[in-house]
Symmetry: C2
Subunit: 295 residues, 2 copies
């Protein structure tokens, strides 16, 4: 099984879990539940959820047990995309190859669907006890995710990103944006998988370093794809960063230097997880995939 | 000390807790933290938080220990107001006597500030263990709040409310809206206070009935104030329900019947908490206040 197939099989598990955890589309009030399902089940690579499962796997915890955490992280990722796509934010019409949530259901329902996904994510995490985890560990997972998703994590990154449109930003500011907007949730994903598996501080530290490098390389390659990618594979229109005057790594460093920075980050990723041996092959494959990704 | 003074002293405790729990306005990225503080610390009666403390008091738990839960419920209430006030939703310019969050900070920051308050609420709840509560109890509190705030609670109520603008709705639909949009969070408040105090099922049931009656009567009197209230005391412009073609209890039942329904609910409130004796005087005063409230 190659890496893409391994990701696919994890994604399938996560999609099944999401389908069961999200309220039925027919549940009253229906439009909000339709919108939640539309955006969450619209595809997506499920990298964050896959990291939760992969890390549990490395540390000897059955992936099935951590599935609710994997699903919760994908709910948070989806809520952040729904809100980021709103007209008042990035104003995007397409996402994952389909019209964005507010294009289909209107802005009000899109805002509420995002709110509801964020809320459901915490509800879902709070029930991890049912999978046999200690309540104290579950609370630590909730704190981890809350911090990563909050105003000094994911939301902070988006706030600085919006503030930086049309402004010349430094490489440091751009790194802040991406370490928070993208990196924080990747870190939370590996750390949740680790905490639920009883990892020690050194293991947590190594996995956090992996996630930090991965998040940065992911964002650099995202920026590169926006310059050179194929609309059909991307599921959204390339060139949107340029159109919005967004700061990007290729924009600040040039394409050659940006590619080199991504490669350096991938090398750092590989070093940080060397200690885990062959069990960490999924994480290795994920880092390598960044250098050849088309979507 | 009369009821208003008792509420005031609880509100003061909650405001101090909120001030400490919210990131400093200067914390990077600053605009989002300014907006979170602006809306959360803009006043507000703190009824939800006061209910958490009052119920803990009835059941013999020190109010100081449940303060984080009280603050978390006020964060969720504030986030819901920020999002409800957005142009795509109720499009309100004033709240608590001040310009609404998006009027001061723009729509994007307002959306993010709401998201961040919701996230911080769950973070805050997840740290209740530090006040000596059992982790399992804390998880149950998070589930309670998550359910009340979710797509089949608070958010569901707002979704149906938006859907009902300009439409003739039944009394049943209007009750659904208010039981969810307003009642759910009042219920969660008393139930959190009760769960953190080790209440049994019967006590939980009695307090839930109180909260349901209180929520409905609160909303009916809110509708009445919108017809007859004073802008200065209200902190927002009366008549906005009419202007937006919102379904209201006076609109469906007539003013006389609406007042009678509120009075009936207040009687139900008083009956449901009779068992708790004089320790429940704060809850009694809260229900009576609804019949004379000016704001």
């Amino acid at each position: 099984m190659n890496w893409e197939q391994a990701l696919g099989s994890k994604a399938e598990l996560i999609n099944t879990a999401l389908d069961l955890l999200l309220p039925r589309a027919s549940a009253y009030p229906s439009p909000i539940h339709e919108a939640m399902r539309y955006s969450t089940l619209a595809g997506g690579k499920r990298l964050r959820g896959a990291f939760v499962i992969a890390v549990a796997d490395i540390l000897g915890t059955d992936g099935e047990r951590v599935l609710p955490a994997a699903a919760a992280l994908e709910m948070i990722h989806t809520y952040s995309l729904i809100h980021d796509d709103l007209p008042a934010m990035d104003d995007d019409d397409y996402r994952r190859g389909k019209p964005t949530c507010h294009k289909v259901y209107g802005e009000a329902v899109a805002i509420l669907a995002g709110d509801a996904l964020l809320t459901l994510a915490f509800c879902t995490l709070s029930r991890l006890q049912e999978k046999g985890f200690e309540p104290g560990v579950v609370l630590r997972v909730i704190q981890e995710v809350g911090k990563a998703a909050g105003s000094q994590g994911l939301i902070g990154g988006q706030a600085v990103d919006l503030d930086s449109e049309g402004v010349k930003v430094s490489k440091e500011t751009l790194e802040y944006i991406h370490n928070h907007k993208t990196g924080a949730l990747f870190s939370a994903s590996v750390r949740c998988g680790a905490l639920l598996s009883g990892a020690g501080d050194e293991e947590l530290q190594a996995l956090s370093e992996y996630a930090k490098g991965f998040g940065l390389a992911f964002q650099i390659t995202d920026d590169l794809l926006d310059l050179t990618g194929d609309q059909e594979l991307l599921g959204k229109k390339p060139g949107s960063d340029l159109a919005k005057n967004k700061a990007t790594f290729p924009g600040i460093l040039g394409i050659g230097e940006a590619i080199k920075l991504a490669e350096d980050q991938v090398k750092k990723c590989q070093l940080s997880i060397a200690r885990f041996g062959p069990r960490a092959d999924f994480l290795r494959g994920a880092a390598n995939y960044l250098l050849t990704r088309k979507r």
